[in-house]
Symmetry: C2
Subunit: 80 residues, 2 copies
């Protein structure tokens, strides 16, 4: 249908929290074997940045959902 | 927890298709009475642009899901 690209930035209160969350989600990011959408996952100070491209709306929804869920789990576990 | 901002851009094959999809989703966009995340929804040529800010990860996921779903429905209905 269409080409989709975009980015989501999450600003955390400090670098320590961002680093903890980034570390746990990075593990998931690296172990996902296959993806129908491409996503770059990076850390810049206290900001986690996700940049993605996809050909497929549903695949992108799945990808964004996974990452935002992993981030929430990381925050919950660390009780941040 | 954190402040989230971002954007998603959808490039369509031509302005006509983009305009049709934009029009149908704009209707939903304007009739949603209440939102826990803020989203700007705009059209630039053959590109639909969504810019959002949120305080809440789950609310943002819900919002992104809704818009990507509406876009898919609009494409399906128009058989584009």
């Amino acid at each position: 249908m269409s080409r989709i690209k975009g980015s989501i930035e999450l600003d955390f209160p400090n670098e320590e929290i961002a680093k903890i969350v980034y570390g746990s989600v990075l593990f998931e990011h690296k172990t996902v074997p296959y993806r129908r959408s491409r996503l770059d996952f990076s850390l810049n100070g206290s900001t986690i940045i996700m940049r993605f491209t996809a050909e497929d709306n549903s695949a992108l929804r799945g990808t964004i959902n996974s990452y935002l869920r992993w981030i929430k789990v990381a925050l919950d576990v660390a009780e941040l």
